[in-house]
Chain length 412, copies 2
């Protein structure tokens, strides 16, 4: 009997070798490492009997053709990693659905719809200051302007794609017709500790959190820490500390809100000078947009009062906002049902991170399966998902496809 | 009638020209700029009738010889500036007593004791990681080991002094006999806003504050700001914010305590990662050593509880401690009396900053006269003391010398 988890582990370690030298995996889009990963995945896809193409956004597509006129289920994730990242983030979401299809083939099950397994070129946005190129192309939301963005070597995205044998001017033609699609299912490591804490190998995503980011600048007045009396000080760091505490308090006390001050910089930042200027970031994430935007408003109100109390100037700008993307209830319920059958779980949890599914939600119903990862870490060489958990995910995906086939035939 | 304040202004602007190019004044010890300042001051000292020498620590000494067997009053401050500093910090404390002596000479007053006006080479400690070279040499507290310290060009203090024509091996021979001395009087810009707020041109220092510094390191756990639930976070910056707030609260609520977190650094310091590690400094200053050390102890106690509450590791080390140096009550009262005579002030205030007088306190009684400076700022090109305030200081110093002469003759 095939150990599907072990096959996943083996295939992932082969793809992990397609990396720049150094710790962990560094596989950026439109590079020799990307090409090596494509070659390896193409061989695997062809062995499983899929028809393989590379679209003009650099997405590798392995297609299992269903009966004429049938719709298509899209599955997959991204091939790229961050610098010195791990062997699972993204690529595992390509490998597991491939093996689920292989499992069905081994069991002699034919699906009454087409399936495409997609390996997107760039989700992380590490090489170019843009991301989600492949998924936005399919969703019809790709913005040509990003083709002029450059990497650190001064190479534009347009040039990088052309050197890779792609025609970026054709990206606009890649958008899919939603009516042809059953949906998009993405499998991904959780990148968080919830499944590990709950001792569950798998979880189904309820929604991808919306995000907003605020860039905050506090200007007070510096002075010699010895000669400036306490009374009348306009210490920018003391004001910043109140913001850090308040953001944390909001996150701790508001259901479904994650609130973080991640970056903070002090000027002049010396032991014997009262801080003149502090810049900091505040980030809110929630699966519920109203919760998130109420948090942003509450912080602005808090900072207005603080600026007056502390006699400092506080300027805040919302630099980024992204709406929450709820997962499709039907697809998610079917995925959760499969997980439960296999002793996995029906645990629903939000995704705090953005994924290709975020962009695909503009095109079709989405669902996401999370796989437990060790210590909740990702984006490091220590990133790890257990063989047996990946095996459970392959089982769940195969069962999901079978059940979807049953339902699809009931509906037709 | 001589405008002594205007003469001070003129002389200070001449010395300010002895500077590296760039904004403000940059005059580091044992450099061509230092030599230019010495030449200019020497000419001035000789015009006033002083006997000029340069000791082996680089201190320029202008001596007015009193009757045989009489004791000596030391006055002065340092010639060096910080990088891109101002035209007053240090050097004004050399120029004003010179002009006070010139004023007495113009009035035909002869003193029954010797006076030396000292221009120390290095108080700021900008070029070498040590300071107070000249004053420690006189006090007999100079440590030969610092001669091996290097500047950013790799030049040792020993080499720099030798190139300047000094013999650093002779520094040990410079220590003075306390019995020969009446005391040391240093004039300095306040470097703080108290005199300006109180609308007083001059103030007399009650004590030079003691200082203690703590280097604090908080280690929590990082994670993705989206995927890590709020519950169970070990956010190093949230713990740091509580320390910043507590240090400020202690300073605001404790009489005679100045408490500052001046430097704070976050890792990994990105918008979407929970901070893993924060390092910060806490500095306490007080003219009262018990107050200062109680504050340090209270902070350690606070951090022990915080570490447990926030599940973070907090390591703190006291990296620096310096005792408070009370000014001599008799000299200070005489100085304050003179100020009041001249419509200046009898305001007593602590000095939050360290001065040459801190080192001289190991040798003899000290007193300090503060001159109001605009906006309380120092160590910038904007540093400024008004001509009339300097004139008031010259008057006060001249009257002080006369009164001391009267007292000295009464005692003898």
């Amino acid at each position: 009997m095939t150990d599907w988890g072990a096959r996943a582990e083996c295939l992932l370690s082969q793809v992990a070798a397609c990396s720049e030298p150094g710790p962990g995996v560094t596989r950026l889009p439109f590079t020799p490492e990307h090409r090596a990963a494509i070659d390896l995945l193409q061989t695997q896809m062809e062995e499983i009997g899929l028809t393989v193409t590379l679209d003009h956004a650099g997405t590798l597509i392995g297609r299992s053709e269903g009966p004429p006129g049938s719709r298509t289920l899209l599955m997959g994730s991204h091939q790229d990693s961050v610098r010195e990242g791990g062997a699972y983030d993204g690529i595992m979401g390509v490998v597991l659905p491939l093996l689920a299809l292989d499992k069905l083939r081994a069991e002699g099950i034919e699906l009454p719809f087409s399936v495409e397994v997609l390996a997107f070129a760039d989700e992380e946005g590490v090489r170019f200051p843009t991301a989600l190129v492949g998924s936005r192309a399919l969703a019809g939301t790709f913005d040509d302007a990003v083709l002029s963005m450059t990497d650190t070597q001064g190479v534009t995205l347009r040039e990088a794609m052309a050197c890779f044998g792609l025609n970026p001017e054709q990206i606009r033609t890649l958008s899919r017709n939603p009516e042809d699609l059953l949906g998009f299912v993405e499998t991904h490591i959780e990148q968080g500790p919830v499944l590990e804490r709950e001792e569950r190998p798998l979880g189904v995503v309820s929604a991808i959190c919306g995000i907003e980011r605020h860039q905050i600048e506090i200007t007070g007045e510096t002075g010699h820490a010895g000669t400036l009396p306490m009374s009348g000080r306009r210490d920018a760091l003391v004001a910043a500390a109140a913001i850090v505490a308040e953001v944390d308090r909001m996150g701790q006390s508001t259901p479904n809100l994650r609130a973080t001050v991640g970056a903070l910089t002090v000027e002049p930042n010396v032991v014997n000078a009262v801080p003149r200027r502090v810049t900091l970031t505040a980030e809110f994430r929630s699966p519920d947009d109203a919760t998130r935007s109420a948090a942003g408003d509450a912080l602005h109100h808090f900072m207005q009062n603080l600026a007056a109390d502390r006699k400092t100037a506080i300027n805040a700008e919302k630099t980024y906002a992204q709406m929450a993307q709820p997962c499709d209830a039907t697809l998610s319920a079917q995925l959760a049902g499969r997980g439960t059958d296999k002793g996995a779980c029906g645990l629903l949890l939000p995704s705090g991170a953005t994924h290709d599914a975020s962009a695909m939600a503009d095109l079709c119903p989405i669902a996401m399966l999370f796989v437990r990862c060790r210590d909740g870490v990702s984006h490091t060489p220590e990133e790890f998902a257990a063989k047996d958990d990946m095996g459970a995910a392959i089982d769940a995906l195969a069962s999901f496809l079978t059940a979807l086939a049953r339902k699809d035939s009931e509906n037709s």
